[in-house]
């Protein structure tokens, strides 16, 4: 019998190694390996896990890996799958970091990165607009991102505080509005 720890470590190591472009690009590969090939979770459970992992803080792919590891072998399984997912990135980036620090002063490398830097700033600007579209901002919520951005940018407030205030604000708003709306409240509770 093959060892499930080793098996799950290998699977998530592979998932970590072969996905370019961050967490969401990993979903199809995770589904293929975990649902279709290994049958560790059912397709319906996988959809639930994705939904929950998305609403949790932290690295999305790591969250998914921990859920599946825990399902397989409780806490020890979770540690194994989390380590498997993180390890390829860790090793690759470490190699690059060691290498890059020696070649940073190189004139060609410096010129390459002078071109790359403005592009990266643009790459962070693009998801700002895409997320804004997905968040379905309207007249009443548009001030939230604007105020958040301004207090971080101009007043130097930590984004952590913005997250806390926004979460608590959303919670209180939900509580406040649900008082006059008991019918819907009762329906979701049942």
């Amino acid at each position: 019998m093959r060892n499930i720890y080793w098996e799950s470590f290998k699977t998530f190591f592979k998932i970590g190694l072969f996905t370019l472009g961050g967490g969401y690009a990993m979903i199809p590969l995770i589904e293929e390996e975990v649902v279709n090939k290994k049958h560790w979770v059912s397709k319906e459970d996988m959809l639930d896990l994705i939904a929950i992992a998305q609403s949790c803080p932290g690295v999305f792919a790591i969250n998914i890996a921990i859920f599946i590891g825990y399902k397989l072998r409780k806490t020890r399984g979770a540690i194994v799958t989390a380590a498997g997912t993180a390890l390829p990135s860790f090793l690759i980036i470490l190699l690059i970091a060691i290498f890059f620090h020696q070649f940073k002063e190189n004139k060609v490398v410096a010129a390459l990165f002078r071109g790359i830097r403005p592009a990266v700033v643009a790459l962070i600007a693009v998801p700002t607009f895409n997320l804004a579209k997905r968040a379905q901002l309207n007249m009443f919520t548009l001030w939230i991102p604007i105020v958040s951005a301004l207090v971080i940018w101009l007043l130097g407030v930590s984004p952590i505080w913005v997250i806390i205030v926004a979460g608590v604000g959303g919670y209180l708003y939900g509580k406040f509005t649900s008082n006059g709306n008991t019918e819907q409240n009762g329906r979701t509770a049942s």
């Binding site: 803080p57 825990y70 997912t85 390829p88 071109g115 990266v120 971080i152």
Partner: protein, 191 residues
């Protein structure tokens, strides 16, 4: 002690990093560049570029790289820097490990309720603001140069920014390809 600071900082980032890789980037940028000054904004941008071009989640990639660079910039040796990157990466994953296990144990069936939904009604627009702030905070002389310091580089930088934004946003060019195009442009125009 830089290792304890690294641990606490990346633990916080792991705990409050809502909204996927990019949402987390704005936290990492704020903590490592604005708050602790472990990196300057050019180094941070380089890290994001390298994280984009290598496999794996952006959060893990940038934690590893930031941990390494922060310790090197503080004047320690390479083995200490490797320890620094291990510390940052472990600290980033730890809150997920604790939270996900707790959720698996107890809260799984409560996760779809109204309370969680209303918390996210507040969080989602705020994450948009976080990203906007990260973009604004990265428009620095280190990344773009200034008209005074080097007018040519400043103009080219602004052009590359506009072109990348348009290319990725509207022409749906793959971000990695866009980075490569701009690297070539940098080599030709800014050598």
């Amino acid at each position: 002690m830089i290792f304890i600071k690294l641990f606490i900082t990346f633990f916080e980032i792991g705990l409050f990093g809502f909204g996927g890789g990019y949402g987390m980037l704005s936290l990492i940028q704020n903590e490592t560049v604005e708050h602790w000054h472990w990196l300057n904004s050019a180094e941070f941008t380089d890290i994001v570029a390298i994280s984009q071009m290598t496999p794996g989640p952006i959060g893990i990639n940038s934690a590893t790289y930031c941990g390494y660079t922060a310790v090197i910039n503080a004047g320690y040796s390479v083995p200490m820097a490797i320890l620094g990157s291990a510390t940052a990466t472990f600290a980033l994953v730890l809150p997920s490990l604790i939270l996900m296990i707790l959720i698996s144990k107890m809260f799984m069936r409560y996760m779809h309720n109204r309370t969680v939904e209303s918390v996210f009604k507040g969080l989602r627009p705020a994450v948009v603001g976080l990203l906007a702030a990260a973009t604004l905070l990265l428009m620095t002389p280190e990344n773009f140069s200034t008209p005074k310091e080097n007018l040519w580089q400043f103009c080219i930088s602004c052009f590359l920014f506009a072109a990348s934004f348009y290319g990725v946003m509207f022409m749906k060019i793959n971000p990695i390809r866009m980075i490569l195009y701009c690297a070539v442009a940098g080599l030709v125009l800014l050598y």
